[in-house]
Symmetry: C2
Subunit: 212 residues, 2 copies
């Protein structure tokens, strides 16, 4: 190997977080490779040493963000808490994740469509790039469904256990995730409420909505 100095060199992760921030500010299409590079004191060309291209870079940001969130949720899911307690913990975890890294949280909301609009179209030469991208993108969406399923399953289990009232679990879950995602849009560090406090309100709200 070679070159991994103190200040100039940055690794994949650094670029990923930088990209998330710029993406949060500008949106995918309005974000240039130059913008991202500038955020880590590189030139656009250098980014191609770390990522195949802009699309893969975006996909990577989303993958990392989703993985972090899912990881915490799975730990809660595996615990021996009641459904209501599990749901509370999951809501808190999700909301705190979003408020703790608004850049990634917002990316999960806003940039997903950009993912769909990628040149599956036509002319682009490299067939192999496209194939790999489509495969990973599908995998991402599957993982996103899995993420939603984690919440939906708890809601269903709670209903069956008699802890929650009988609701349309699928719709209520989507409503819940919509509310959480939206937090990434309006939350500002240093506002009236901390991320934890917002999470508390959300927990209270959804337990009331599901309460018997």
């Amino acid at each position: 190997m070679a070159r991994k100095p103190a200040d100039q060199s940055v690794d994949r992760e650094d670029i990923l977080w930088a990209a998330a921030e710029v993406l949060h500010r500008n949106g995918y299409e309005a974000t240039t490779m130059k913008d991202i590079a500038a955020q880590v004191n590189l030139t656009a060309a250098s980014l191609y040493h770390h990522f195949k291209n802009k699309d893969f870079l975006l996909l990577n940001v989303l993958e990392v963000g989703l993985d972090l969130t899912i990881d915490k949720l799975e730990r809660i899911d595996a615990s021996k808490l009641s459904c209501a307690e599990k749901l509370s913990a999951m809501i808190r975890s999700h909301v705190v994740s979003v408020t703790g890294n608004v850049a990634v949280g917002a990316a999960m909301v806003f940039e997903i469509r950009a993912l769909l609009n990628v040149s599956v179209g036509a002319k682009n030469s490299d067939e192999s790039f496209t194939r790999e991208f489509v495969a990973r993108r599908n995998q991402f969406f599957a993982r996103r469904d899995y993420f939603e399923g984690l919440f939906r399953n708890i809601v269903r289990a709670g209903i069956e256990a008699g802890e929650f009232r009988e609701v349309d679990a699928a719709i209520v879950t989507k409503a819940m995730l919509g509310a959480h995602n939206w937090v990434g849009v309006w939350f500002k560090e240093g506002g009236r409420l901390s991320g934890e406090a917002v999470a508390d309100v959300m927990v209270d709200t959804w337990l009331a909505a599901l309460g018997r």
Copy 2:
């Protein structure tokens, strides 16, 4: 005046709806003037006869969408219903609006950031264009806050009237709107539930969340 034939000629409104659809599919930055024009069988150049430029076109789409929604909400707000009844009607109205025109509904979520990223920057020649745009954009955001206030005020009023339990009205309102906005992201015509049915679930959910 002149030329307003049967098939070839389209008016501002036609372009507005077409733009909303393309915007919904692609997002602002990824949407080209050519795309929008194609949707109404025009060339990109022709669009400039109806709109000053791309930014004003986007702004127009959002303005129309917001006005339509606010109009219905104000009528409900002016009625003599109880707070719970008003809130139910407003939720139903909002959700039905979103499901009834997903294109506009999604634009209200996704394209707003594009509005913020408009070249208030520098070089652009026409000072007057920029000034007018900034003014109208600020007005739009003010109107959007007003829209949120309509919901928030009912929640507050309901709490004071003892119809709702005591919650953080600001946060709960944002949660509510987040849930509704998200509907525009996942709702598909012809799915398991109609727009009305989804609206019913939302009403039920939020009344439960606020119920004493």
